[in-house]
Every structure is written in C-alpha cells, then in structure tokens.
Amino acid sequence: MHCSYACNSPEHTRARRNFLGQIAAGTGVLAGGLGAAVRPSAAKELEKNQKRILCFYMAGGLSQLESWDPKPNTDTGGPFRAIPTSVPGIHISELLPNIAKQMHHLTIVRGVNTKEDDHGKGGYLMTTGRRQTPAADYPHLGAVTAKALAPESSAIPGHIHITPGGGGGRSNDAAYLGPRYASISLGNGKPPANSGRDPSLAEAADMQRNALRRQANERFLQRRRTAQTDAYTYSYEQAQRLMSERDVFDVTKESPQDQERYGNYDLGRHCLLARRLLSGGATFVQVAHSNYDTHNENFDFHLEQLGEFDRSFAALVADLADRGMLDSTLIVVMSEFGRTPRINQHYGRDHWSAAWSVLLGGCGVQRGGAYGKTNENGTKVIDGEVDHGQLFHTYLSAVGLDPTETFDVGGRDLPLADPSVKAVKELLS
C-alpha cells in the first residue's frame, strides 16, 4: 500500500491559510515548507531576494549594562563609560567602539522583560518564542526560518549553528517540523562531519555507490515513506550537494586582509564563516559566543569577550551593508537573559530577565534607533516593554513571513509563532 504521507497534493504541500503567498508573490512559491519546485528563472530572482537571518547567541547572558543599555555614573553602572554612536543620541558601552560606528544599521530593543532567569528555560524561550512546558516542544527560530524560507535546491543546509566548540552533526531543535529542519552544528566552525569524500574512494566509485543507494531508496520509499525516511533521503541528497560545495566552510579561502580584519581568533573566524555561508545561500546562521555568565568579575570578562565580539561583529555588519545584503538579512543579537543591575561582592552580575536588551538590524526592521526604555539605573522597563514571544513574531515579520499563519505538518495546522502575541510594529520598517 502506498502511504499517503507527503502525497504532493496541494493540501499537503501548502498550509491551509497559504501563508507563504505573501513572500513569494510574483515569483512563484518558495520551496522549504511548501515543497514546491521553483522555476529556474524564478529561482534566480528568489536567490537574489532570499531573506536570511543571522543570529548571534551570547551564551550565558550578555550584560545589557556593558553593551546596549549602559548606565554610567549610577549605583549600578559599573566602571565602563558610554560612548556616542553613528546615530545621534544613541549611546552604547565603551566596550563596543567599532559597533558604535555601525549603529545606523542597527536598532536596540531596550525594554525586554522575559521573566525567566534560568539558563535552559531562558534560552528556550528566546530561541523558540515560547515558554518551555512539559506538554509541548516548539521549533527553534532557525528551524521555522529554514522550513519557511530555505530553497529546496540549496546545497547549503537551511539551519546552521556555528558553535565555539563541540562536534558537528544535526541537533534536535526542530520539534514537530521534523529532523530535516534541525540545525547542523559546525563545532568550532569546522565543516559538517564526513562532508568530504574519503580519499581512498575514487569519484567514479562514489558515484556508482550513490546511484545504487538511490535505487534502493526509491524502491523502499514506494511502500514505506515517512517523515523520517524523507528526512533521511533529503539529508543524503543535501550531503551530496554539500560535498560539491564544501569550500563554503573554508574560511582560509578568504583574503588574509579579511581574516585579519575579522580577528585571528575563534569568533573572528566564525563571523567570517557566517559571511561565507550567508553569501553562499544559507537561510539561517547562528553564531554562538561564549561565555557571558559572569557571576564573578563581570567587567574583566566582558572586557575580554566583547573585545572580540566588537571587532568581528562590526566587520560583519559593515560587510553585509557593503555587499547589499543587509536588505535581505535580519541580524539578531540575543542571550537567554541579561544581567543584574546590582553588582555582587565578586564584582559580578547575576541572572536578570526583568529589564534587558536585544539588538536587531538589517532586513525589515527600523534602523538607527532604540525602542523601549529602562529607568535611570536599569532596574525596570519604563517604556516599550516586549517579551520573547513578541520578539519572535517580529523576527519572522521582518523577513517577510506572517507569524500568525500556520505550517501544515502531517495534516495539522501548527502556528509559526505563539498565536497569543503579535509582532512589535514599531520595530518593523
């Protein structure tokens, strides 16, 4: 019996409310979530206009006071001063002099209140837009973006995480969207494991081997097709395409000048890799920077970490702007939470989710401003309060998606984002 799963009927290739109609208007329908083929002529246009997200995850909890919302000369301000930026009236920490010059491409969201001070739970809600519950699991922003926006034909995985260390492989962060949209981790920026052909295997033999695999696969799928087998097949085919474009992961192909400009350290290389991946067609790239969980000597450690981040991130923003990619690339800089205004006995700051900041930039958002406000010493939000759910809607809206629409997953309509909240319109361009 032929299974009815993914029968390619209009009902199953398209969510009932046809949410992607808006983003694909005039160019046919994007692949990814819809699974429809893209005409070659339209594909080129789509590629040019393809929306992407570049997310920086500041692991541990970046201090808003040492970054986007400094409070110098207050009881909570700490030793660092605020500096002017390229946007008159907007000041950020003196630890970020290079980013200050790029502020006209960026917007600070200063009124974030997520009411969650636990690392795991805070990370979950910031990356999924929902609070973690035992009853349900929700997909990562990258999985949602990949399913909605990644071209079917792309050789580059749609959802990529560049991590400071660890191995590679696929994570388990796509929830009901399925393993196909789970993140591929590039541990310390290394290419996906086994993405190169074994040198002992000749190209002809490799092709012969793959032809045999395809033949067996197709025969199997005729009777036993499931989401898992589809993901398996997709992974193999994508891996084949990936092997042919493996150079995209090799930052040594970049000029020595660019490598120097981004910084000769892990984050510098990771940012350069992010540029290569986005230029190569990746839809969602997350770069994690560690570690900001500074219960001890917050100021020394922020000095150390942000010194790297400032140089590399500013170079990347400037390059995306120069290459005309900012209009199609949304930039998000997030953490699981911020850090306490109160300075503890170890010169540290602790977990704090009641009044912190997220940075946005590029595609679909207002640039060169600050939205929301905290009080004089940063202990509470006094204007423009937003939470993780609203921000998640805002990210999706910025890249042209309607977050109130649904995915069709196995015949079920599942919302892209928490239906109880909406995007922050004031942040959208």
């Binding site: 541990g60 110098p72 000369n73 009881d75 700490g78 030793p79 660092f80 001063r81 400071p164 260390g165 892990d266 560690s290 570690n291 969980d293 500074t294 219960h295 001890n296 000597e297 450690f301 000095l303 150390e304 970490q305 300075i343 006995q345 170890h346 540290g348």
Partner: protein, 332 residues
C-alpha cells in the same frame, strides 16, 4: 621605660569602621599615616581621618579608582582611574580639587607606583602598556611595550633602579628605569589559567610587594580556578628571589578567595588580604609556606594596606565600609 608596642597578628581585631554609600574597591594609608584614602564604586575617592573617621570626598574621576599612590613627603595623592586618567590631588584640605589630570592610558589604569625618590610615577593598564611620568610636571618620560596582555600591576624596586610590571598571563617584566629597557622576566604563570570550557583567561598578578631588604618579590593572585565565572578559585602567593628571579617559596592557603594585596612587615613577614567567597587576612612568617594566623574579616576584602606604624591595617570591603584592623591588644 616600657618596651615599644609590637604587632601581634593573633590580637587582630576591628578597631574602627567607616561607612560610605557605595562599595569600596581600594584603600591606602598616606605616608604619614594620618589618612585613609579609599576608592569606591561611585567613582569617588573618600579620605578618612584616621583619628576621627571624618570623611572628605575627592571627586573628579569618571570611573572606579583602584590605583592610589603618594609623594614621599605625603603632600600629594596620585590616583589612577578605570577611565584611564591619572590625577594629582592635595592630600590635605577641606575641599580638595585635582591639580593636574593626564589622559594616561587607553582603558583602565590597573596599577600605579611612585619611585622611592618621588620623582616618577609608573602606571599600567588595559592598553598593555607601562608608562613613566614626571611627578613634578606630568610629562611622559617612558613608554614600555612588551606585555601581551593587560598589565595588572607595577612596583619599583627599593633601589629605585628598576621597575617591575606584571600582567594577566603572569609575566613579570623587569625594566631599567633610566633607559626603559627590559632586563628580564619573572615567570608567575601559575597565577593565570585559561578555561577552555568557558573560553576565558583568568587570574593575573593582582598584587606585588618587595621585602624591606629588596631581596624578595611577592606576587599575589589566584590559582586552582575550576570555575572562573563562578568565583571558584584559591589564593596563591609566590615569593621570588631577586637575585635569581626564581620562585623561592609559594603560599597556597586552603580557602576560597583571591590574594588582592600582599604587604611585608619590617621583619620580612607577609600579610595578605584575601577576598572572595571567604574574607580573610592571612599572616605568614618569613620562609614559612603555611600561614601562622588567619583573621576572618566581617566582609569580603577587596584591598588592604599597612599603616606606617606597622601596628594597624586598613581593609576595603564590598559592604561599603573601610575597616581599621589593630594588631595590638584591645584597649581595656
């Protein structure tokens, strides 16, 4: 005639407490022992009269002041701030104002020392530089380059011929004052560690002191840091032999804190102010690796200094207090 009073660490007790509105980060006695100067998280330096506890604020820095020094005659105070400014002040006066300000470093000034003859001030900081200044007119005399990480501390050898500077990675460079040339390096790398899991460098030479005879250099800081971001570390003090530049003896007290300040007594014994999860003042006899007495302070110790009389200490604390510790019997 009665014998002169001697310090007995076992008698250490809090003789006075002076409260401010902001946590303290540093403290020093002036050379005459009349005042305590203490830097606070509100970017002021507070001057306390040792006899009365009366406080006078020194306002002018735009960031925290952890570096304090004096002219040998006790007339001038030099302060180095985390905004990079070096400021000259009068030690006395009811409303003291800065008499000279120099933009000394890009980033924090982390350490300051005055030459034994009082003619030069050395500073160091986050720009990885060591600088020598003319104390009389504020002119820059030398810039020493060679550190590959933030420079945490500077100290003059008692001879005045040499300056030593120490950094985050535990490299202690010796410079010839007259020429600015680097002479040799003491290796205190045990005071630094890199935690790959947290991707952070941690430690550094938090304090330095020369023994009165100039034959021993003590470097204080921390080691055994299994969790830098969580303040899990033990204090470590390494005493180097001046002649050989090799470690002579190390002190690794069993406690959870950082050796924020080391000072020598006239007899060569060592006093260490430790702050962190525990708050201690530790006392070491010359040539003994274990402390012979530990005083538990009421709150974490962020800095310590010794009164010129050798009988009293001052400590700076997170709980917004500076405390005078007496090492003599309590008054009856």
């Amino acid at each position: 005639m009665a014998d002169p009073v001697k310090a007995d660490p076992a008698l250490t007790h809090v003789a006075a407490e002076w409260k401010h509105t902001s946590p303290f980060v540093s403290c020093r006695f002036d050379p005459m022992g009349r005042y305590v100067f203490a830097g606070a998280e509100d970017s002021t330096v507070q001057r306390f009269d040792v006899a009365t506890g009366a406080a006078v604020p020194y306002v002018g820095h735009q960031s925290w002041v952890r570096s304090l020094g004096f002219s040998p005659d006790g007339a001038t105070l030099y302060t180095g701030g985390y905004e990079g400014r070096l400021i000259w002040w009068p030690v006395v006066g009811d409303t003291p104002a800065a008499t000279r300000t120099v933009e000394a470093h890009a980033g924090w000034i982390r350490g300051l020392a005055v030459s034994p003859d009082g003619k030069a001030i050395a500073t160091c900081g986050n720009d990885n530089l060591v600088k020598l200044w003319n104390a009389e007119d504020g002119a820059l005399l030398q810039t020493m380059t060679g550190h590959a990480s933030n420079v945490f501390n500077v100290i003059f050898h008692p001879s005045g011929q040499f300056l030593l500077s120490a950094d985050l990675k535990g490299q202690v460079h010796q410079w010839e004052v007259a020429s600015g040339k680097q002479i040799r390096t003491f290796d205190a790398k045990e005071l630094h560690s890199y935690n790959a899991g947290q991707a952070v460098d941690y430690g550094g030479v938090r304090s330095m002191a020369f023994s009165p005879d100039g034959k021993s250099l003590a470097c204080g800081g921390l080691h055994k840091s299994s969790n830098p971001l969580g303040a899990v570390q033990d204090p470590l003090i390494i005493e180097f032999d001046w002649e050989t530049a090799k470690p002579r003896i190390s002190h690794a007290p069993d406690t959870r804190c950082i050796a924020w300040r080391v000072v020598y007594q006239a007899d060569g014994s060592l006093i260490v102010g430790c702050g962190g999860t525990e708050a201690l003042v530790l006392f070491f006899k010359p040539d003994a690796d274990k402390e012979f007495f530990r005083f538990k302070a009421p709150n974490t110790v962020r800095d310590l200094d010794k009164h010129p009389d050798g009988l009293r200490l001052v400590t700076a604390h997170f709980d917004k207090q500076v405390r005078i510790l007496s090492m003599t019997a309590k008054p009856a």
